[in-house]
Subunit: 201 residues, 2 copies
């Protein structure tokens, strides 16, 4: 996410509980794509939460614990949830149903003063971090705040290889998140790095 966002012209701050760790990763990413002079820095979570738009990219079961202390600094901001609650069973990933139906709905409940959107669920990580992968994927966006959808779509619009599609309200997040299990299961079965396209739109 950081690589493709920064390549599109965004100034990116990686957050971590330990600032040192985020600073180290940011340095590695800058070095890998040195010729692009990507604007990626590292910080603790409070520093990262100071950005105009905040993307929650923790594992799903750390999402709420990570966000709760940041409620005030995130008030009024667009927060994008990309987590999926999944569990592995044999050669398949299966979706779990979080107490509010989706991770994104739980994030919105934990951050009632923020404008939560859900997006970026179905993207293969390996293709995302390789800018030369030729990735072409649709990104489904949903939110209860039209402004958050617009901001999220505008970020995606300029990211290489991605097309935003507005899928409606946060009620859609449960199905969007759960479908990630199907995408990963297909990738396991077909040894692929597949991406989702909605043909005809």
């Amino acid at each position: 996410m950081a690589v493709r966002l920064a390549e599109s012209g965004a100034k990116v701050t990686l957050g971590s509980r330990e600032a040192e760790r985020a600073i180290g990763v940011a340095g590695e990413v800058r070095a890998r794509w040195g010729e692009l002079a990507l604007d990626i820095l590292g910080s603790d979570n409070v520093g990262a939460a100071g950005a105009d738009v905040v993307i929650l990219a923790t594992p799903w079961d750390s999402a709420i614990a990570t966000l709760k202390p940041l409620r005030e600094v995130l008030a009024g901001k667009v927060v994008i949830s990309m987590a999926n609650a999944l569990i592995k069973e044999g050669r398949e990933m299966l979706p779990l149903i979080p107490p509010r139906g989706s991770v994104a709905a739980a994030v919105q409940a934990a951050l009632p003063d923020s404008l939560v959107a859900a997006a970026f669920h179905h993207l293969p990580a390996g293709e995302m971090e390789n800018l030369e992968s030729g990735l072409e994927a649709d990104v489904l966006v949903c939110s209860d705040h039209p402004e958050a959808s617009v901001v999220t779509e505008s970020l995606i619009e300029v990211m290489r290889g991605l097309r935003p599609l507005n899928a409606g309200t946060l009620s859609q997040a449960s199905a969007i998140e759960a479908f990630t299990a199907v995408c990963i299961t297909l990738n396991i079965r077909y040894r692929a790095h597949s991406t989702l396209r909605m043909i005809g739109i």
Copy 2:
């Protein structure tokens, strides 16, 4: 479904509680595509259930009531569930979670002696019934019986415009069915007849 199946060379029997109704619809479909001489007949449900492979294409809330009386005639057969439990709310479709997680799981529970597969959830009906529509769509198939997946995939393989993808066990049906709500919501928002493609497989 009947048109594309028959066009691929299958002999199709439409079922209905009232045989007259199925016979009438079969006649209309044959007449529309007269030059193809499609092999589509009508029958009551018991007659339709006599086929080698049975596709359950009722609304989701009629699925179990339709199947229960057919348990014995369907024993040992591949039964394909294509229903999605959805509800309209404003300009969106939302997924409901059936008591067993998916319609397909409920169908398998109602027909313990049948080999239930789930497939055909995300296809736009208007494009399906028009053989000249240029439809190109992936069809996700899942089942707890590998034989049922193989049979279902082999049907899809020869249907014009469709590609089968094996998505694993019936545990995947909940996410596959629910994602239909996202597809329809996108179609409403974008006034489209979109189809799903998994690029990279």
